[in-house]
Symmetry: C2
Subunit: 207 residues, 2 copies
């Protein structure tokens, strides 16, 4: 049960190294403006040597998104599964997502926040995959909210979807404001907003 996956061949290892660099750079420069040459320079490889691992820039972009998703799972989803189902897990998901943004797992913030804006109006397999991954995150959070409603911990007069929308809004806005204004206190603000919102949905239930 080692957290680090051992990669057998050298090809797989360098491929992984490329993807970590690509994901980091993509959150800062963008997934499309990140050129093969630029990425090759950053990884100390030749353009063609790097290119051979993916076959096309589009495949590289998809592989990068795939890798970023695995990081998100490792940093947010997996630790939140330690919290009991219901309200604690809802909070854990929001809190860990804010933590993942706060400690800059990717230097440019949330990988999917950056790339989804970039690709939202650029049809193709890259956009499709990013949308799918984003949907799966929101569905996961929504499912956790539903469980908290079914257990009676959260008010169910408001749909799980709308609660999810509000909760994720705070994290997205914090990520955006931090990278635009450089003010780390937005994360505290987002945590407070999240906590108070969950609290208000709990109190209403008690009344």
């Amino acid at each position: 049960m080692d957290k680090t996956i051992v990669l057998k061949t050298k090809g797989e290892r360098t491929r992984q190294a490329i993807l970590t660099t690509a994901a980091d750079l993509a959150t800062k420069e963008g997934l499309e403006p990140l050129s093969i040459g630029r990425l090759a320079e950053a990884t100390g490889m030749s353009k063609s040597g790097l290119f051979a691992h993916f076959g096309s820039k589009e495949e590289l972009q998809i592989a990068t998104a795939e890798y970023a998703a695995s990081v998100f799972v490792e940093e947010v989803i997996a630790p939140a599964r330690a919290a009991p189902k219901g309200l604690p897990r809802v909070w854990a998901l929001c809190d860990h997502k804010l933590g993942y943004l706060e400690r800059q797992v990717f230097p440019g913030g949330c990988f999917f926040a950056s790339t989804s804006v970039e690709f939202s109006h650029r049809p193709g397999p890259v956009r499709d995959r990013i949308e799918q991954l984003l949907r799966s995150w929101l569905s996961y959070l929504e499912h956790a909210v539903e469980q908290a409603q079914q257990s009676g911990e959260l008010d169910d007069s408001l749909s799980a979807r709308e609660i999810t929308f509000e909760l994720d809004s705070f994290a997205m806005a914090a990520n955006w404001q931090y990278h635009m204004f450089g003010d780390r206190t937005v994360f505290d603000g987002a945590r407070r907003a999240t906590r108070e919102r969950l609290e208000s949905l709990r109190r209403r239930q008690a009344a």
Copy 2:
């Protein structure tokens, strides 16, 4: 007091036509990937003829942001000034911003949402200007919140900054989700979230 500014020379008119096209395209393709050649094609001009209006791509980008800001003022700020100071104006600002997003004044959504993500890690005068314009919007909204607090319409145990953060989060998230998932109902959700949040801050005051 004509709403439409009359432009005297032909140069000023074509410059304006270029900027409207540039702002539209920038929200869909991005402000940096939007090339001079692409923009020239869209406006039916030659590359060099268009280029001469700005002198550099950077100047074109700044002029485009400037134009987008004037649109935002016209579509959001100005109509909200019709509402009385205090809570009604806070609501009007949020509501008109959601309306501006909903009816797609820019085809790719909020100009500043798109471009700020794109330029957040790209230092230079373009980024600086976008940041400044965003700050002025948030300051304006925050000021309206403060007035509502001073008049006793909104609870002032929470800072105006934090209230502003929450309110703008809903609009930003709605814009993002709409352009990623294509679901127009997010705007209703954002309106409901905004209204309920303002309501809860009012009720708390009454108690």
